[in-house]
């Protein structure tokens, strides 16, 4: 796997195997925060940042764990790293933009339990990526998450004006939309095979 180019890794995580639409990671914020475009964008930025921090730290920690044959502690260490990274982002956002802090609300601390982030750390370990590849992977995955979130938010903003049957309000309709988006993203599969 060492031979994969950085561009390919980025594109792969960004659109071909989009984390949300093809791998089903991070669905909770995807359905929860995709009400407004602006919030979706900010959430996306926060996730990208957490992803880069936790991906690089996970890489370093995995090196140490492998060195001392402690692979069974991997999961616990990763979770601890992610929780601290989220805490860092939370403090930064609170300091610089209290308004944004309020809009993101509960979903900010919930990034900790966003499976996209732990998934990213686990995938990069499974695929033996080197340091630069990890960064490219994290960037691609974050960008892909943001893209999916923004597309969904755009659709849902339009949908608010539409007249839909009573029973299909809410989650069912969002999932239907997600399915259509996912269908569209399958078209990219030919890019990388």
């Amino acid at each position: 796997m060492q031979s994969e180019s950085l561009t390919f890794i980025f594109l792969n995580a960004f659109i071909i195997n989009n984390f949300v639409l093809a791998m089903f990671l991070g669905l909770c914020p995807f359905l929860g925060v995709s009400g407004k475009l602006k919030t979706a964008w900010n959430m996306g930025l926060a996730v990208i940042f957490v992803m880069i921090v936790s991906s690089t730290s996970a890489y370093l920690i995995n090196m140490i764990l492998v060195r001392y044959n402690l692979e069974f502690l991997r999961l616990i260490c990763y979770i601890a790293v992610i929780a601290s990274a989220v805490q860092l982002v939370e403090m930064t956002i609170k300091k610089f933009s209290p308004a944004l802090f309020r809009t993101l609300g509960i979903f900010l601390p919930l990034i900790t339990t966003n499976c996209a982030i732990l998934g990213l750390a686990l995938f990069q370990t499974n695929r033996d990526y080197n340091f630069l590849q990890c960064v490219a992977f994290a960037l691609g995955a974050g960008a892909g998450f943001t893209l999916a979130l923004m597309l969904m938010a755009g659709l849902r903003e339009k949908l608010e004006l539409a007249d839909v049957p009573d029973v299909s309000m809410g989650a069912a309709l969002s999932l239907m939309l997600a399915g259509l988006l996912s269908l569209a993203f399958m078209g990219f599969a030919g890019l990388g095979g």
Partner: protein
């Protein structure tokens, strides 16, 4: 069946059935959707994932409930996560030892049980406030409810997507599989259909109740 779910004790049948239907983690609370969609392309995977999650749910529920007086309030979430991660690691290695094929099919999603919000949610909302027996029964109910939901999706997707059920051929060679259902979009569609269905049922039931009350008032 209609009891206030917020009254936790005493131990009752309701503690168990809560997770099955009224507070079904997937169909009602929309929690833990990632594994629900990702591993349900065959009924077998769905069942295995459901059982693994139930195991972690029950074990961590019991341990959290046992330690509820020991864990300081400030660090409780971190402690819960570590307890959960421990059990997930055990499950991970156990599945790897039992069936390598299954392990490969489920991939990273076994390890991702750690971040399944159902488990942390139950630990925080129920196990940390209740007796061990109650926590055990409630976790078991939630686990069964989750497995049920996974099977609902897994069965539909496998039957339509590859014409088989638990690997057994259902329709014979002339069946043209509807392969979109085992691909990612199928997961979204099938879950959306189940939600439609449940929403219709719930609306009907609410409506029936209202008209019944009206009739009652008129009499």
């Amino acid at each position: 069946m209609v009891k206030d779910p917020r009254v936790p004790d005493p131990l009752s049948w309701n503690t168990f059935t809560q997770g099955l239907w009224k507070e079904n983690p997937v169909f009602v609370m929309l929690l833990g959707l990632c594994p629900v969609l990702a591993v349900t392309n065959t009924a077998m995977n769905a069942l295995a994932m459901g059982l693994a999650t139930t195991f972690v749910l029950v074990c961590s529920g019991v341990l959290v409930s046992l330690l509820r007086k020991v864990i300081p309030k400030q660090v409780r979430i971190a402690s819960y996560i570590i307890i959960i991660a421990t059990f997930v690691t055990i499950t991970d290695y156990a599945i790897q030892a039992i069936s390598l094929d299954l392990y490969k099919a489920l991939g990273a999603f076994i390890q991702l049980i750690v971040v399944n919000c159902i488990i942390l949610g139950r630990a925080e909302a129920f196990a940390s406030k209740n007796k061990v027996t109650n926590a055990f029964v409630n976790a078991l109910g939630m686990g069964v409810g989750f497995t049920f939901a996974l099977l609902c999706l897994g069965v539909v997707r496998e039957v339509l997507g590859s014409g088989t059920l638990f690997g057994l051929d259902l329709f014979g060679p002339s069946f043209q599989p509807w392969s979109i259902f085992v691909l990612p979009p199928g997961g979204f569609f099938v879950l959306a259909f189940w939600l439609f269905l449940f929403s219709v049922v719930r609306k009907r039931r609410a409506l029936a109740q209202v008209t019944e009350e009206e009739v009652h008032d008129a009499v």
